[in-house]
Symmetry: C2
Subunit: 498 residues, 2 copies
């Protein structure tokens, strides 16, 4: 497969160069250079598409697979077969869309993002709705090009989480919603009181270096990565030897920088842990957005907001930030885990976070499967927020307009956030079984055991197994929301003394 | 010419993307990512070459020029004719070299740079000499491919300074050498004493922000650029809207960071001042390395080490760095202009700097035109340093191995440094004529007049005129070393009270 790998590697070099352009744009680019940067990015995207759709790529690929039917050559072993399946799937997706369609869609997204920004600032949904309508239409067309035999929304879901369908999600989310709402009610009735971390200011340099020290303990390799500041935290992989994360630091919000660092650090560990023997191929790519998110959330929430984690880190944090001297570790732990239903998804606590995702998911389903008109979105949104979170949305800025995803044409993406949460607890429970004194390790700050385990179980395999196969291989169980629900109940019963 | 411009623009987007990869490598790249970065760079270089040498590029070009003879179509006006000449010349250079030759040469340079680094560290010329020999051989072959009818060294000179030949340089350098050596003797006999700036340490943050304030006054546009730290200061143009400079800061060396900032700022102003109506074409490119260097040197030396400049800036520097309170402005001015013949080119003062260049130039000539054996280089080098600078080289690290250029195959490049110095004073004298109260402006820190003048006279034209044409258009005179020599004599007579 050497020749095919070489061609994939050429595309990979273009893709990773584009990632650098993108990282630079978010962290370094002088403001006057934005227009030219867009041109560079568009040109590199076009080149990748051309390479992928070239006759010579198809020629190499067709040595291993029938490019019309997707059937692999008989002589392949099962590992190569899966590899070729993935390569074929990616190729099929690239070539399925006519160039004129891709061009129109790219332009629409670019324009829609600008309009969305303005609409959000002005809290004016009507500005955005014509674009959103067109985005929905084009996403339906896109799904038809990609796979005319499945329902449009299932085709879109599969783009981000291989094999995920509405039929899989519905029973999971339905149970999760019910359990979450029940627990939320108990929590809201509790009279537990909390230390107010918001009463202090926290030196941002101290926050920054504390975050770096945590990342090092996690096993994030700074010889193959770096951390910078950006408006919205993100992780970008320029190659497994160059994985960059960002965070934002605010002196009034102690946990914002640290949580973001740990969250992005989890994503970063995944990318650094890929198997470079397969560089440029699907076996050196993360398997899905949901599994990726499980790695950020296992670190940020399941470990980073647990008591054992702070056994090690709280004394250190106290030394950096003496204003915490009147706050005990227990008070601190409870405070960072406090439940506060709010309007904004990215600021949501661990309990209510999935409710935000479910609202998006339900609305996307209504749009794609039930023909809900885009004009009705604010109304439907606000009803659901009232229903699940008990809040009155006064302003679309803090409602339906809050997230960028739809303006980029990302429909079917949101559910992967909740999938990540469900996976994270399933994986953590297996980790506890595999490493009996896990709690002891974490309490001592020996976090390397976690990243080593994840590396062996997940990262090194790339896309060798589909997400459900991978989860079953590791945990022996099928995807379920039960472990996550029990985890939440255990955790919040203690914190809220229920 | 729209289609031809589009093709040039595609190449330009690749070239500028490669510039970003390079900037990132020098300032941001995690150390573990260097190998993959080299692959990205090589791939982008290959793509540019392929685009340039493609049939479709030749097809567009041949609409305006006979690609065999270089003769332009009759219908072109003189401006378009020059533009096509430049495009043709670049194309001819790209296509003249066989792909196998380019590949071997690129690999040789890459390997030679590594070996040179080791050889320099160990001060062991013999490690490097086999590579240098091969580099000389291949550079001779390269020159033959590019233009078999001229002498190899003249062909190489033309790569960096259009039209420059040994016949032009020899009389200039000969006079300059004589005058410099004479002046140096007087200076060395002088009993003038100087304030020792090396006796203090200088806060590096203060140095950094002082440098930024000077750059702003110069007219360097931070909306279209930025300054970062790197081991070796450089300027890189990602486009005229994104021109990045770097410097290095050392608490023991007050002038190092500032001089580098001003020097690179001068290069940066040139790139920011190009005419973007012609983006991607030779009319939006700097005309030559010599003219480029004139812009860095006019700022760094002619203005930045002049008394009027410090009329404005010395009181401000004194406020940042109170340790200078016992140093008058006059003492400061004299101290930063002190002459100290030394071994290292990049640390040389304004007077002896050109002697370093002439040593390189004379040796390059001997290699290419007189068959000097590479093995004899250390010996010849050391003799010349003794002769011109009066110093005994004890160590090749501080002698023939000090500069990176030859290991990158850059022969014929060094003379452009001295050309830059000669141009800089010619241009400054014209500037004084065109702006009668120039001294007054500079004394008030109104440096914008300088960059505006340079922009109108030089930057906006790109490669519209050849370097000699440009200098004659601006100053009305042919290139000469007389203005530079008089300038040095005036300046150092005062400083050394000769």
């Amino acid at each position: 497969m050497k020749k095919l790998f070489e061609k994939l590697n050429d595309i990979y070099k273009l893709k990773t160069t584009q990632s650098l352009l993108s990282w630079d744009q978010e962290t370094q680019l002088p403001e006057g250079a934005i227009d030219f940067r867009s041109e560079q990015m568009a040109f590199l995207a076009k080149l990748q598409h051309q390479f992928h759709c070239s006759d010579s790529f198809k020629e190499e690929l067709s040595k291993f697979v029938n490019c019309d039917t997707g059937e692999c050559t008989d002589s392949l072993n099962s590992s190569d077969r899966r590899l070729i399946d993935c390569i074929y799937k990616d190729w099929k997706q690239s070539t399925a869309l006519p160039e004129a369609f891709v061009e129109e869609y790219t332009k629409l997204c670019s324009k829609a993002q600008h309009v969305w920004q303005e609409a959000r600032e002005k809290s004016n949904f009507k500005l955005f709705s014509p674009y959103l309508k067109r985005l929905v239409e084009m996403s339906k067309e896109k799904a038809k090009y990609l796979n005319p035999s499945n329902s449009a929304y299932d085709v879109l879901l599969d783009l981000y989480e291989e094999g995920l369908t509405v039929d899989t999600i519905n029973p999971l989310f339905s149970k999760l919603r019910e359990e979450t709402v029940t627990l939320l009610k108990s929590v809201q009735q509790s009279k537990a009181s909390f230390y107010d971390l918001g009463k202090h200011k926290y030196n941002t340099d101290q926050q920054w270096s504390f975050g770096l020290s945590v990342l090092e303990k996690m096993g994030y390799d700074f010889k193959r990565g770096r951390q910078d500041k950006s408006t919205h935290p993100f992780t970008i992989d320029i190659s497994p030897s160059d994985v960059r994360i960002t965070t934002r630091v605010d002196e009034s919000k102690l946990m914002e920088a640290l949580s973001s660092s740990i969250h992005e650090g989890g994503h970063g560990l995944y990318e650094q842990g890929l198997n470079t023997d397969f560089l440029g191929t699907p076996y050196c790519e993360s398997v899905s957005l949901g599994i990726h998110e499980s790695q950020s959330r296992i670190w940020e929430k399941v470990i980073g907001q647990s008591m054992p984690f702070w056994d090690h880190f709280y004394p250190k944090l106290g030394k950096c930030l003496p204003q915490l001297s009147d706050c005990t570790q227990d008070e601190f732990y409870r405070s960072i885990n406090q439940v506060n239903p709010g309007f904004i998804r990215v600021e949501a606590d661990e309990l209510t976070y999935n409710l935000h995702i479910m609202i998006r998911y339900e609305i996307e389903q209504m749009i794609f499967n039930e023909g809900l008109s885009v004009d009705k979105l604010p109304e439907v949104w606000n009803e659901k927020v009232k229903d699940y979170l008990g809040l009155e949305v006064k302003n679309d800025k803090f409602g339906v307009l809050q997230d960028v995803h739809w303006s980029c044409g990302l429909f079917g993406y949101f559910p992967t956030y909740t999938m990540g949460n469900l996976y994270s607890v399933m994986l953590f429970e297996q980790l506890e079984k595999d490493i009996p004194d896990l709690r002891g390790y974490i309490s001592k700050g020996d976090l390397g055991v976690v990243s080593e385990w994840s590396s062996e179980k997940i990262y090194t395999h790339g896309r060798r197994y589909s997400p459900p196969e991978l989860i079953e291989r590791i945990t022996g169980s099928e995807l379920s929301c039960d472990p996550f629900v029990s985890y939440l109940n255990r955790k919040y019963s203690k914190i809220y003394r229920l």
